[in-house]
Symmetry: C2
Subunit: 106 residues, 2 copies
DNA sequence: CTAACGTACAACAAGATGGTTGTACATCAG
DNA sequence: CTGATGTACAACCATCTTGTTGTACGTTAG
């Protein structure tokens, strides 16, 4: 979850996600659309890949980037759980906190 | 959106969100639950507040922290739009990208 | 009034992040 | 084969983040 939300916390990366959800694209095709170097875009894609929001498939010398809707759904589900907590529909908050959370004292 | 997803990209902050969605709590009551100083928790709450995920209300010398479900819903909606793009139900991707995105070239 | 409590914020250090340039290497075109 | 294309990654730098400690200040308890 850290990586998913962290990856989505950047407008360029959200833009890339939207594009590759619609249609797969090579890294260089994506890079053409932003006012930064290819290397910067390539690293944004790497962040998205590490978060599981996109996958890459090699085709010739290109890497086709595709969006992964399952990861989006996982994030959506967590947000919906927060809403359910708010509605009082989740009794034991610990059910949600059972996601690999950290650092609780006492 | 940057701030919302950025705020959610931390397990301590997600934990705080879950707790205050369920029930309001003072900053110091929250701080007791984590293995870090009060100041660190106070700053996590400030990050959440800046993102609009929580609000604070002064009561006596305490500040009661409450979750804001509307902000959660705004984030959920964006994720659902990604899914709709994937389903091919959104024709013009620009509708989504019309959120204050940046840095497009050409 | 005074002491304790709850909060806010500044300064600091260590590490993460986001951009750059440069290099390396595989693949495709001719 | 050779040159151009597409990708990956390292090194570097500026900035942001996340924890710390210390200080300040308003509020409540006694």
């Amino acid at each position: 979850m850290d990586r998913i939300f962290g990856a989505l916390a950047d407008p360029t990366r959200r833009d890339i996600v939207a594009r590759v959800m619609r249609q797969e694209a090579s890294v260089s095709a994506l890079a053409e659309r932003y006012a930064m170097t290819f290397a910067a875009v390539q690293r944004h894609v790497a962040v998205l890949e590490r978060a599981g929001l996109v996958t890459k498939e090699q085709r010739g010398r290109e890497r086709l980037v595709r969006g992964d809707v399952d990861t989006i759904r996982a994030a959506t589900r967590l947000l919906e759980q927060y809403e359910e907590i708010w509605r009082g529909r989740i009794g034991r908050i610990e059910d949600l906190l059972a996601e690999p959370e950290q650092g609780e004292a006492r």
